[in-house]
Symmetry: C2
Subunit: 361 residues, 2 copies
Amino acid sequence: MSGLRFELETPVPLVDLDILDRNLARMAEYAAEHGLGLRPHVKTHKAPRVAREQARLGAVGLSCATPREAEVMASCHHDLLVAHPPVGLKAERLMRLPREVDLMVALDSAESIEMLVAAARRHDRSVRVLVELDVGAHRVGVPTAEQAVALARLVKARPPLVYAGVTFYPGHIRQRVEEQPRHIDRLRRDLTATLDTLRGAGLAADIVSGGSTPTAWQTHQIEGLTEIRPGTYVYNDRYTVAIGSCAREECALTVLGTVVSTAVPGQVVIDAGSKALGREPRVEEGQGFGELLDRPEVTVKAMNEEHGILDLSRTAWRPAVGDQVRILPNHACIVTHLNDVVCGLRGAEVVERYEVTARGR
Amino acid sequence: MSGLRFELETPVPLVDLDILDRNLARMAEYAAEHGLGLRPHVKTHKAPRVAREQARLGAVGLSCATPREAEVMASCHHDLLVAHPPVGLKAERLMRLPREVDLMVALDSAESIEMLVAAARRHDRSVRVLVELDVGAHRVGVPTAEQAVALARLVKARPPLVYAGVTFYPGHIRQRVEEQPRHIDRLRRDLTATLDTLRGAGLAADIVSGGSTPTAWQTHQIEGLTEIRPGTYVYNDRYTVAIGSCAREECALTVLGTVVSTAVPGQVVIDAGSKALGREPRVEEGQGFGELLDRPEVTVKAMNEEHGILDLSRTAWRPAVGDQVRILPNHACIVTHLNDVVCGLRGAEVVERYEVTARGR
């Protein structure tokens, strides 16, 4: 670690492109093997550089959370899902996406259907709609099959909206991978019942879109699923390692920081703080906001905006002012959102820089 | 609240310009009244719009944390303090600031002095140096007067560096205002001793720069102090209210969000999540990540990246999809860093938009 030296101003996110390539390929293979469409969520990278690779590897489409993400990703894939209810001015803004974009949105209320249909009619634009189901995450989505039927029926009655199917996010399944099967089993039963009810009402779902990175490798067990939407898998992070959804060697994103102070005994201060790493919790308390890539026993125990404090209590290593460190963050998606540019590595060489073009609004 | 309606896409930060004006004036008056120089930290706003006002109101200079902040603020004030050790490529980058900038940096190590002097000599540029003291925050700064003397001496021996004095950040004083006096009292005694030691060594500090927003209104009690560096006071936030450093009516910054889902019973979901509000803790646990400006009993109890979940357990209010809400965030500085543009209000009218120009790297 003490030999580490990049000619880069810090803090700056680094992406190991070899690992990124492997992560992209592995998920594409998993989806293909199980006959699932892969519609990666771009929130993790927000970068056309990565989205184009996902498209090249056969993604059926891309998932976006914001109008900005959709606008940027329109140049990478023509099939875009906006997986966030398009309420207020967002619906109008989405209608101004290039005409070649085949837009699909997820929603869970009559109000958002009416806003969307008004915008779609003003722009004479057909929009596919997925009815969002709450399968246990209790965030968005209708909790009952009857409500799903009612919304699907409403969509069908509101051209130019097109009822395309259902979507869900199993965000409640965040346990370690080996503890997931009983949750997945329950999800499968509930989903099957809802899909049956829809079918019985003449509202069979062509698209059943679900999944997350924590559950990614289990999603083939969910009958009826037609496509998956993992995001974090491209970079992975300390959280995905902690739950066993990836190996530590599959983490592509780190933040390069520099030791700026060793003045206070028993600790060192780096220039990566909450404005570079994000104040994201790990699965377990007390494990800090990140750990060194090559020294996992050294964690970022505290942060201010531009300061990270390394905990040296479990190491004999004593860095000097000016030494660089690579921090594996708790949550990759936040690091992306905090930074405008990512440096791509092959081995220890910075071979490219790419923009986080879709960050911001 | 239900009548609230801005023609804005959300989430977006709003700044009440009348409150901002009053906050700026009040701190300028406090500093003038006590004969203290005011060198506001720009990290909170990162906006030339606000920095120019601070300059107009008599700020002796501006404090910056990053080279980017210094570059942007060079157009607002000629006297800039970079209050973060300029280690690595940062020292070199600072030397490329416009020549009219009278640069000052804070540091706490011989290594950073040597890096800075090398850069300063390459660019034939005089740089004032403040030796950073640790007065109890245990982040950066030398803990003893003897170490301060040694660093000050080293600076004096390294032209074109100029020894200008000392600096400290009382980040450990984060208690409620009424519990601060004994901490301030200790700080005053320690600081006086250090300043005496420096003076005895022929290293009297012309500039003694310290303070924070939590301690802002107490800093006149610290003898020897020549200037203060509050940042958050321009906007204030839920934290500064909680410790009694400002009144709730003095909070200028809110985040405008829109209700996007009411599907899950007992809660509503807004489109402002961790990528708009930041996952910043409040003083006390369990109080969420923000509260509604007009309904403080409604808090943001949970977040995902683009979702905030409002806790409706202490209110009979039931908003509908499409309703807008204004959220008072826990920590204003993070909100600024997460957003590129701020909307300025007079009353309920958006009268301007200004850029957070100095965010990013």
